[in-house]
Amino acid sequence: MKVVIASGKGGTGKTLIATNLAWMLAEGGVDTTYVDADVEAPNGHLFLHPTQVTTSRFASPLPTLIGPTCSGCGDCQRFCAFNAILATADKVLVFPELCHSCGGCLDACPDNALEELPRESGTLTVGEAGPIHFRSGHLDVGEPRSTPIIEALLEGTPDTGVVVVDAPPGTSCSAVAAVKGADQVVLVTEPTPFGLHDLELAVDLSRKLGCQPSVIVNRSDLGDAQVRNYLNAESIPVLAEIPFDRDLSSYYAEGVLAAPVHEPLRQALEKTVSKLLNGSIGGKAA
């Protein structure tokens, strides 16, 4: 089962929930994998402290002019929907940051003058955090495209047990890549106008990808009633409410996994785990 912890708005508590949820699942004997898909700012390792870590460089195919057979016809350039390739009189110019590695230019080329060569854009980390299988990706600074590395992270996850995915914030391509194929989408929100605005976008994204989301309301005693009104109106199940707690903030700031030592969070997540595992809430459309 793939459970994606997403949010829309940043800073609502995705990593707090994802890391502690993974710990709770593993503690309950579930074969658990934690995936940090927030590849532009991964921080799950600060709480899970994986060991036996192996890292590898991630690369995507990039078209490259290989031989003298190029006739300068420009078919590659005309094919590319992303303006990533430019044919000049004597060479082919590829803009790596714009290329989506679709391989279309190779098919379009009548001269067989292009070849795909690997181009590195990030690092993949795999390890074990106690009983939790740990995976994380880190996009290189300056790289604009995070989807390929997120897809690679998720491709390597086991089909058995529960995979907890710590998604990137927002609702753009990177969030879509993390949410795609989810069995359950848990949106972490806060009861503020900003939380509500981005929650609505995230709900929309989840539904478009075929999954009825559920919600955890963090700092649930702050803000206003708009988020709850919205959730009621949309019949979106609330898995847990976590009131603001200075101790919890302190644990987080110190990089301490809170569930083992913080009873209220543990209780909130116990409810979450049972609802997720017994299939009583939304999830993926049949």
Binding site: Q77, F82, N83, A84, L86, T88, A89, K91, L93, F95, L98
Partner: protein, 119 residues
């Protein structure tokens, strides 16, 4: 063949149009053929591109056999593309009409863009 000059403008009009300071995202280009006293307006189809507007606009310049582009500034990918296509880049200060920019180019009062700009 006479030299062909492109100037980035805010609308596909005549030489009294105000310049647009952007290259890839400029709404239109005015194409001026030196000696021919003829001005052609060209809408920039790259202006709404999700990405790579600079490279796409550069390709359009090559399709039109443009030798010189006058704009306010050029992005790094536009620079790379235009340089590879052998198109000269000249930068004009803000607030000029296309005619004023053209006059300054002809009298040698504009800056030619060089790679050092990005270093």
């Amino acid at each position: 063949m006479s030299k062909k000059i492109a100037i980035t403008v805010q609308r596909a009009g005549a030489l009294d149009e105000p310049m647009d300071p952007r290259f890839g995202r400029a709404p239109a280009f005015l194409l001026v053929e030196e000696g021919a006293h003829q001005v052609t307006a060209l809408e920039n189809s790259a202006t709404t591109a999700a990405q790579g507007a600079g490279a796409a606009a550069a390709a359009a310049m090559a399709d039109q056999s443009v030798h010189v582009v006058i704009s306010g500034r050029f992005g790094p990918k536009a620079y790379e593309a235009l340089a590879a296509l052998g198109v000269e880049m000249w930068t004009a200060p803000g607030g000029l009409t296309a005619q004023e920019a053209l006059d300054r180019y002809r009298s040698g009062d504009l800056q030619r863009m060089a790679m050092e700009t990005f270093r």
